[in-house]
Every structure is written in C-alpha cells, then in structure tokens.
C-alpha cells in the first residue's frame, strides 16, 4: 500500500509517494501558479482527491480527481454564499476541507474565507452553505471585524466530525474561537472556556470571554475521540470531553520555548502522544523557530511533559514557518511525521521524531501537507 503526502502550495499541488517511507518520489505540479490551500484524499474510498483552489485572478473553487491527480474536474457548484446575502459576503478562498463521517460516504465539509461553513453530499461535486452557522444571528459577532482576521482574510478551519457521532461537529475560526454543534450544524455554541485571550483586557467581572479567541489548529485523537488538542495563538491546550474546559498543557513546555505555533498532530495510536512545532510569539511575532533553531516538541503523557526533537534539523540560522495545515502523521509503526515549510521544504521522520530528514526542497511556499493511502 503506497504512502502519499499531498502538498498544497501557494503555486500548485505536488504529491510525494513511497512504498517504504524511505524512498520518496515527487509528482507534479498540478495547477501550477494557483494557490491551493488544502488537498486531501478521502479516507473512506481512498480514491477521491479534493483540492481547494484559488487562481490568483479568478474566484475560488474545489477540484476533484478520481485518478490520483492525473485529471481534475471542477465542482459544478463551488462553495458560495447565497446570492443576495444580507451581509454581501462572497467566498474569497476555500481554506479547509474535511471528509464526513465514515458512515456518510460522499459527505464533505469546507471552511472558507471570509468565514463560512459549507457541505457537500455528493463527493464534492456540489456544495451548499450551512445556514445554521453562516446565518446564525450571532455569527457576525463570532467572526469579528476586519481587525480579527489573518492577513489574507479570516479563516474557518479545523472542521471536525466527531468520530462517535456524525451529527456532532466542531470548528475553529481565526479569529473567533471554537464552536460545536450537536445537530449537524443547525445550532452552535462556543467552546472556549479555559483558553487565554492575551490580546484583550480581562473582563471587569473576572468572567471569561465566550468567543473571539484565536485557535490556530484543533484536532481530535484518532484513537481516543474524546480527546482534543488545540494550538492557539495564546498557548497549547487539551480537552477531554465531555468536559467543556480547555487545559493549557503548553504551560509545561520549557519557558524559553513557549507554547505558540500553528499545527498540532495527534499520534495515530497513542492517545497521550502529540507533536507541535513551536514558533516565536514574542516581540514582533516572527513566527519562526526560537533562535532560528528548529525543533518539534512531543508529549507522550498528554501534555504533562515535552521532549525536544531536533535530530537532523539545521542547528542554527533556519527561520522556517510551518503553517497550521502543514503537519501530518502517517499510520505506520513506528509513526511517521511530516511537515512542510513556507520556504518550500518537506521534512519527515519515520521513527516518531527520533531523527528527521529533508525529503524535498525548492517547492513553493507550502500551505498544507496531508497523508493518505490510496487504494
């Protein structure tokens, strides 16, 4: 069974393939010159590839391939807000793609900029807005103003379909916070208790902000679905459902490293194990490795302690940025971890982080790296 890494970049898509995780070949580009924020293989049929694409001049869309990326067909109805939307919203780019529950083949979810939630029930051919979220009477408050967005527009990301319940959805927004729905997206409530918001003053009554936080990435453990991890603009957190309180386990990171970053990857089989890539969130927020010395940090005890992993990385003067969608794990034993950098390098480990090596370099700015095992 081949291992594949789907690499979405600022200027197209590449696919890395290996049968042994040692020798990798690189295929591509597809969509050369086009911004592609997310590419993902459907883990249910292991055949359908969806790609979120926004050509620089043209509008946003989603492409679908059934032949491993050799040919692509555009969605007949890409994600878009209703014509006549009272807030005059128009999708600028599709940022995030999530396959639906294992029991719902053909269902996909998409998150966009500006922040919107969309659903397909036909393998990504047609998309419809989820009105329960997009048109919620409080939604305009949740998504914030122009000052609450990432530089190229706010992002709705980290859409999670609960492995235990296809109706239970989670999502995060930068900025805006994390929200959950018990009914497939008809109703929503914030899920941000315990999360810091250092960019806002404490409330006079000491209470927490309900929303307005800046989660960078949220994931559900594939082996323990009650466990969630969140890398936030203000720290790294864990939540064990049914609790609704995030615990800042990033406080256990070395103080000189801190707990700021974009991505988080759960281990494929160990509920207490996860990886993060800390970046500098001090001063002018360079979002680069602390001191120019890249390192992944791994916990094997649910965040109580962290181990530095930097074997194979440059020891100095390496000012990478790893974006929120650009880290992923495979399902191998031992597990492999892969990440892409904004300077176009793809790095990987097949021994859970004991040593890393650069698989490919000279690619464009990498937005996302996802893993799949095509049939």
């Amino acid at each position: 069974m081949p291992h594949q890494l789907y690499i979405a970049t600022r200027k197209g898509i590449w696919i890395a393939t290996s049968t042994d995780r040692e020798q990798w070949s690189l295929w591509g580009p597809a969509f050369l010159g086009t911004q592609c924020h997310h590419v993902m293989l459907d883990p249910r049929d292991r055949k359908t590839l969806l790609a979120a694409s926004r050509q620089w001049h043209l509008g946003p869309t989603v492409f679908r391939s059934l032949d491993g990326g050799a040919t692509w067909k555009e969605a007949a109805t890409p994600p878009q807000f209703p014509k006549g939307d009272v807030r005059e919203r128009a999708v600028d780019h599709v940022f995030w793609l999530t396959p639906g529950h294992a029991s719902e083949p053909g269902v996909w979810y998409a998150g966009t900029s500006p922040k919107g939630l969309f659903k397909s029930v036909d393998h990504g051919v047609t998309w419809a807005p989820i009105s329960g979220f997009n048109d919620h009477p409080e939604q305009h408050k949740w998504v914030g103003s122009d000052k609450d967005q990432t530089p190229d527009g706010g992002k709705l990301h980290s859409i999670i379909v609960d492995a235990k319940d296809p109706k239970r959805l989670y999502l995060s927004m930068s900025g805006g916070g994390t929200f959950t729905s018990p009914d497939g997206g008809e109703s929503w409530k914030p899920l941000n208790s315990g999360v810091a918001m250092d960019f806002a003053p404490p409330k006079p009554d000491g209470s927490e902000y309900e929303y307005g936080h800046d989660p960078h990435c949220m994931v559900q453990s594939p082996v323990a679905p009650d466990r969630f991890w969140q890398q936030n603009h203000c720290g790294f957190y864990r939540m064990d459902r049914p609790s609704e309180k995030w615990v800042r386990v990033g406080k256990n990171m070395p103080a000189e490293i801190g707990d700021i970053g974009f991505g988080v990857v759960p281990h494929p089989r160990e509920a207490d194990t996860a990886w993060v890539f800390p970046m500098d969130g001090g001063g002018d927020w360079p979002r680069t490795p602390i001191g120019g010395k890249p390192a992944v940090y791994m916990t094997r005890d649910a965040g109580a302690s962290w181990q530095r992993q930097d074997e194979g990385f440059p020891k100095e003067q390496a000012w990478w940025t790893v974006k929120r969608q650009a880290m992923c794990a495979d399902r191998g034993t031992p597990a492999g971890l892969y990440f892409g950098t904004t300077n176009g390098e793809l790095w990987g480990t097949v021994d859970e982080g004991a040593s890393y090596r650069c698989l490919f370099r000279h690619l464009p700015h990498i937005f996302s790296v996802t893993y799949g095992e095509p049939a």
Binding site: W56, L58, G59, Q80, K83, D85, A90
Partner: protein, 86 residues
C-alpha cells in the same frame, strides 16, 4: 459578439483566445459563456454579481463593473487578469 479570453480562463474555453457569445447585457453574455463553458462565470463574477477583484472587463473599450450594463451592437468584450507581484 467577440469575447477576448485571458490566459487564466483558457482552460475553460479549450485554449481558445477568442470566443463568441450572445447577450444584450454583460450579465446575459456571461450567462451564455457559462452555458458554453461551465464554471466560467463564477471565476469572473462573485455570488453577489460583483466583478472579482483581479479581473477587468472592457466592453467596447470601456471598463465595465456592473453586469447590468448593456453591450452596444458590434462591441467587443475584453476580459483581462489584473494582478501584479509574485
């Protein structure tokens, strides 16, 4: 009418640099183009009927920002991609 197609949109027109379209307004011409080349319109016009930020449309040599604008008899529609930088 003749419609001049920029390189970014020729994937929809089978590589054609110029195509023919019918319609008394820009909206009608774009609807006809979308019938001929499915998906074409949404890459140029957003869901609120606005010309996308980095697309320019000229009708008879005049910049056109409103899909309701009429297309004079014999006028050419010229679509351009307009974005600088890397």
């Amino acid at each position: 009418m003749k419609v001049v197609i920029p390189s970014q949109l020729r994937g929809y027109t089978g590589g054609a640099k110029e195509v023919e379209a019918a319609g008394a307004t820009l909206a009608e011409a774009l609807a006809d183009l979308d019938r001929q080349f499915p998906g074409f319109r949404f890459r140029v016009i957003d869901e609120q009927d606005r010309v996308r930020q980095h697309i320019l449309i000229f009708v008879g040599g005049e910049r056109c920002e409103d899909v309701r604008d009429k297309i004079p008899e014999g006028a050419e529609v010229f679509i351009a991609g307009a974005l600088s930088g890397g």
